[in-house]
Amino acid sequence: MTTLLIAEHDNNSIGDSVRKAITAAHEIGEQVDILVAGKDCNSVAEEAAKISGVNKVLICDNDIYAKHLAEPYADLIVSISSNYNTFIAPATTTSKNFMPRVAALLDVPQVSDITSVIDNQTFEHPIYAGNAIETVKLLAEKKVITVRATAFQAAEGQEAVDIEVVDSASSPELSEYISEELTESDRPELTSAKIIISGGRGMQSGDNFVLLEAIADKLGAAVGASRAAVDAGFVPNDYQVGQTGKVVAPELYIAVGISGAIQHLAGMKDSKIIVAINKDEEAPIFQVADYGLVADLFKAIPELETALG
């Protein structure tokens, strides 16, 4: 039997999270096919075909999959499910939307956000916002799994494998795409950035985030925020790093004016190096920081910008 990995993509390129989810799929130890469903998504399929360890790519090109709506997407996956015993996807907001639907239609449980593969049935995943790690064993014949991409290494490349066209499933016509407001940015994506600089309530206003953006531009970093900063309206919701926002694990994470609530730590504590800049020396963020600077951020950040040259 084979594993089906459902690709995260925007119809143009494949998400970095897919290369990491492939690694998890291989640890489960079966042959891996990738499904690319979307509209005009040939370039995605070609990219997928070159990821190391992919057996073959299935492409399904149809308007109804253009925006990855959960209902038609789940129906498509179920329509080809007899060939597979494991269904896996990186845990993004897209797959969190359709994967539980797939599991319910197959009448099997799902394990969300796995961070480690123990054997082909047994997985570790965080619960209680990462304050505990649960080891679970799936007893059903078919397994549905989402992967916390930051916990796995990205797979390398290979010679392109075959791309096979699969038929669309009929659309249940329950939902319709209306519009989207995506944050435009020339900076890297939070989830794939090597360096992230995040601001918290200590930033005092959205305007002050330009201070962080200046550093981000010098370091080629992404800009993030704590839930407090998002709730205060300083920055949009997609900046949020934390248990209910994005989970990140960059080489360097710089937390500025962030106290370090459990919910924020859960989203960034796997970063390789953590720097905290905060004027409150008792702030919990210092308990996880490799380098802590107790300072007024409005003095320290301009100094940092100068020091970076």
Binding site: T94, K96, Q110, Y128, L139, Q287, L308
Partner: protein, 249 residues
């Protein structure tokens, strides 16, 4: 319109949880329990739809031990009209929860089911989507705005890149994200009134549901702790360490 709001009793979100030393789970004895915060947002949204004249009746539904009745009372005090408790002392997985809610929905015929996008204990983020699949209804997950427009539901969703708006046929399932609303506190008169509101109790067997355990919890352990590092005195010292000690910039 009739709305069901499924709610879960979980460890209060301000409690620092402790893993049991025998690794069988998290310590729940003598720990403050509350309504899952995302479910509070769901209750609030239902009440706002009622206050706007869109909904007529709100049913708060919980699956759990007898004490989950207290969680239902909280929802009733906020403004839900009546409660249903499906009693179960065992750990009920999201798929089983979805099956139970489906069975209740088939008895009650709601137009809308609003629930939290995830419970802060198991962090699964599955129940709403599973329920939607089992009922064959539309789903609007991670909602930050919900509007009824000519028999269709317009839901704005929080997605990785920003916001997405979709239009859903009714009946529908909505799961709430943090920014949908700010839940109210129950007033004392409403807490008193809630004591008189009806809560129906049932067992899963009454709904012809047997809870299948097709997922085994092997153990629950402590996460690896991160050690605190060093304090630096100046920005220059920080930059020097990042460049020369760890080489990340």
């Amino acid at each position: 319109m009739k709305i069901i709001v499924p709610i879960k009793r979980v460890v209060d979100y301000n409690v620092k949880i402790r893993v049991k030393s025998d690794q069988t789970g998290v310590e729940l004895d003598n720990v403050k329990m509350s309504m899952n915060p995302f479910d509070e947002i769901a209750v609030e949204e239902a009440i706002r739809l009622k206050e706007a004249g869109t909904a007529e009746e709100i049913i708060a539904l919980s699956i759990g031990p007898q004490q989950a009745q207290e969680t239902i009372r909280t929802a009733l005090a906020m403004g839900a009209d009546r409660g249903i408790l499906i009693k179960s002392d065992q750990n009920v997985s999201p798929l089983n929860v979805a099956k139970i809610i489906k069975a209740v929905a088939e008895e009650e015929n709601p137009d809308l089911i609003i629930l939290g996008k995830q419970a802060i204990d198991d962090d699964s983020n599955q129940t709403g989507q599973m329920l939607s699949a089992l009922l064959g209804w539309s789903q609007g997950t991670f909602a930050s705005e919900v509007k009824l427009e000519n028999d269709k539901l317009l839901v704005t969703r929080e997605v990785d890149g920003g916001l997405q708006t979709i239009k859903l046929s009714m009946p529908s399932i909505v799961t709430t994200d943090l920014r949908l609303n700010e839940p109210r506190y129950a007033s004392l008169p409403n807490i008193m009134k809630a004591k008189k509101k009806e809560i129906t109790e049932k067992n899963p067997e009454d709904l012809n549901i047997s809870i299948e355990q097709n997922l085994e919890i092997i153990k629950v352990s402590e996460p690896t702790q991160r050690e605190a590092g060093v304090k630096v005195e100046t920005v220059d010292e920080l930059v020097d360490k990042l460049k020369n000690e760890v080489g990340v910039i």
